[in-house]
């Protein structure tokens, strides 16, 4: 891998159109991410977190500004090249798991390898391996409806990992899980970040979840308001609390006006 930032955003804007109305979801986001970081994005609902994640995941393109992924301008890529990046370089984990119904865990996990056109044997081996990694080798032939929320999310993580991406994007991965299961998922992501040097970007509302990260971003109205590097979980929690107190102050102040 080349040196320098994996992800570089320069003054990125995103405007959605709803009929006549223009909705500015991102209003000039700049960001530089090094390999192997673990980042938590926080912020109120509607602040643009998901929009930012979709841009990072090459599911969408900016209205203005530049997005360099490993030094390449994503805007210059064809839709096939972007699909290729989503397939190989980036793994996505969603709040709603988004597994295919009536499909075994194994086949769900295999899905990205189908689009990578891997031979059957390798597909199978890899699927077994990532299922083992997330601790679900025994549930390989269960369908999503036969799995708990935490297990479903682990299947989704296994699916995101199967093509050995260097980036894992998780948009509120624990949003639908209870706190005990959330901790399991976060331990898993932390381990992947440590052991595989996997770059993890996750969106969360929970201070305890954000505390797993070593860099905390706070968004407001389509802008990154704070960007704090933290040494450990303790410092992370402090940063989050400071941000949240400040946010509450601002809201109170705004309410007064």
């Amino acid at each position: 891998m080349q040196n320098g930032p994996v992800i570089q955003l320069e003054e990125v804007h995103k405007v959605y159109h709803m009929g006549e109305v223009e909705i500015p979801a991102l209003q000039g986001v700049s960001l530089s991410v090094q390999p192997g970081e673990m980042i938590a994005i926080m912020g109120a609902s509607g602040s643009g977190k998901s929009t930012l994640m979709n841009l990072l995941g090459c599911l969408d393109h900016p209205t203005a500004g530049r997005y360099l992924l490993e030094g390449r301008d994503v805007a210059s890529l064809s839709s096939v090249e972007r699909a290729h990046i989503r397939n190989r370089k980036i793994g996505f984990v969603f709040q709603q798991f988004n597994l295919l119904a009536r499909t075994s865990a194994l086949e769900n996990v295999e899905l990205p390898t189908l689009y990578a056109a891997l031979p059957a044997e390798e597909r199978h081996q890899r699927a077994q391996a990532v299922l083992r990694l997330v601790g679900l080798e025994e549930r390989a032939h269960h369908q999503p409806s036969q799995l708990s929320g935490g297990q479903q999310q682990r299947v989704a993580i296994a699916r995101a990992l199967i093509n050995n991406p260097s980036i894992l994007l998780a948009d509120e991965p624990t949003g639908n899980l209870d706190s005990r299961t959330s901790v399991e998922i976060m331990n898993l992501l932390e381990r992947l970040n440590h052991e595989r040097k996997l770059l993890v970007v996750l969106v969360t509302h929970e201070p305890n979840i954000a505390a797993y990260a070593r860099r905390i971003l706070f968004m407001r109205d389509g802008l990154i308001l704070h960007d704090y590097p933290v040494r450990d979980r303790h410092q992370a929690l402090e940063a989050v609390h400071q941000i949240m107190t400040e946010a509450a102050e601002v809201e109170v102040a705004e309410a007064r006006e």
Binding site: R86, N87, N98, R102, T103, E107, A160
Partner: protein
């Protein structure tokens, strides 16, 4: 991505929703089986007609008495009611028309037949041995009447199997004496079964005897109803027809412009007319069935379109994990084509089964034509591509983010 992978993805997607896949296929199954069965019935009918034409004997030229329009001087004459066709005419044809190898006369009558306490009303036909050659009609048992029996008008009879079965339910008929119109006849032969004509006439419900016997002892007529002649070849039969017409016009002194009192027909014309008729029927049945195939195709499109909406989320997930627009388009297209082809295959099997049933019902063999099968398969593949393209295109054009947000 290679096609094998696309097919695997499509098959998995189809297997995941068996109910929907089955319903989608149903239209095609019904359409294709209708095409196969209808065409099979039509072709069976064509074949049946040809078989029957063959059973009349090959290269036959048929001379019947009465004018072609069956009208003379404003009076309508029924078949055979004109009494001008004589045995001398037959001899003249055999003598003067070299394209004709032999002729057999036919004089019709009917009457009561009795053997002991069995009695039966049946048709009687006076003819010669040649008749059975011309008509390609073998014996089951006994012998035919020879020239000597004809010359001396012997009371000998050859029975069709229906008559034989009725009069002799459990006895050998050969050598027995039966009474036809109160006169004793010796049974000398029984014919092989010939079956029904296409208009339901039992050809085996008849008794044959020398025409001389019939003329002198049964009906008292000196004319015959028809002559059945054999031409040297099928092609020659048309030329023979013209020559026979010339011979008979001269013998019956029919001037130029006057109407014939006889009619000469070749098997050639019969065959062509019958074949044309049954071909038209096949085409008609086939095209009606094709409409149902088309409706089946529209059904596929309908369900595929619904399916695209229903599976919006799935499409979003696929795109998020690396499917290109082309992958999605091809998946949906392959799904549609697979359904159409699978439906086509099931339809062929169902159609073959239905043809078998219809065959049993109609009592004639129906023919499953390779052409109909090939056309049905090509047609269903085309339907799959044609009606699958739009839904596939729609699926591929979905925005991944919109698709993922879809509830």
């Amino acid at each position: 991505m290679d096609l094998g992978m696309v097919i695997r993805i499509a098959l998995r997607a189809l297997a995941r929703n068996k109910m929907r896949s089955t319903l989608t296929m149903l239209g095609i199954v019904i359409g294709v089986s209708a095409v196969i069965a209808m065409v099979a019935v039509g072709q069976g009918a064509e074949n049946q007609v040809q078989e029957q034409i063959k059973s009349f004997g090959t290269n036959t030229v048929f001379v019947s008495s009465g004018s072609p329009s069956r009208r003379r001087g404003g009076v309508r004459h029924g078949f055979g009611s004109v009494k001008t066709l004589k045995i001398a005419d037959m001899e003249a044809i055999e003598r003067e028309v070299p394209l004709i190898t032999q002729c057999a006369p036919g004089a019709n009558s009917s009457g009561q037949v009795i053997f002991r306490n069995q009695n039966w009303f049946t048709r009687l036909m006076g003819t010669t041995e040649n008749y059975f050659i011309v008509r390609n009609w073998p014996l089951l048992a006994g012998s035919l009447f020879g020239d000597e029996a004809v010359r001396s008008a012997q009371n000998v009879a050859v029975l069709g199997t229906t008559v034989a079965d009725i009069l002799f339910p459990d006895e050998d008929p050969i050598g027995q004496t039966i009474r036809i119109k109160e006169q004793p006849f010796q049974v000398i032969g029984v014919l092989a079964p010939k079956g029904q004509t296409s208009w339901g006439n039992d050809q085996d419900d008849r008794i044959f005897m020398p025409y001389t016997t019939l003329q002198k002892k049964i009906s008292g007529q000196d004319w015959v109803n028809f002559l059945s002649c054999t031409a040297v070849s099928r092609e020659a039969s048309l030329a023979a027809q013209t020559q026979i017409e010339a011979v008979l016009r001269e013998r019956h002194r029919i001037g130029p412009g006057a109407e014939d009192d006889f009619q000469v027909r070749t098997q050639f014309e019969f065959a062509e007319l019958a074949e044309q008729t049954s071909q038209v029927m096949t085409m008609l049945l086939g095209s009606i069935a094709s409409i149902s195939l088309l409706v089946g195709g529209i059904g596929i499109m309908n369900i595929m379109l619904v399916s695209v909406t229903e599976r919006t989320r799935e499409i979003g997930v696929r795109m998020a994990v690396g499917a290109t627009e082309m992958d999605i388009r091809r998946q949906f297209l392959v799904e549609a084509v697979t359904l159409a082809l699978l439906g086509g295959t099931l339809g062929i099997m169902l159609g073959a089964g239905a043809s078998g049933l219809i065959s049993g019902f109609l009592g004639w063999p129906v023919l499953i034509s390779t052409r109909a099968v090939v056309v049905a398969v090509l047609f269903s593949a085309t339907i799959g591509i044609f009606f699958g393209y739009y839904p596939a295109h729609k699926a591929a054009r979905l925005d991944p983010i919109e698709a993922l947000r879809y509830e």
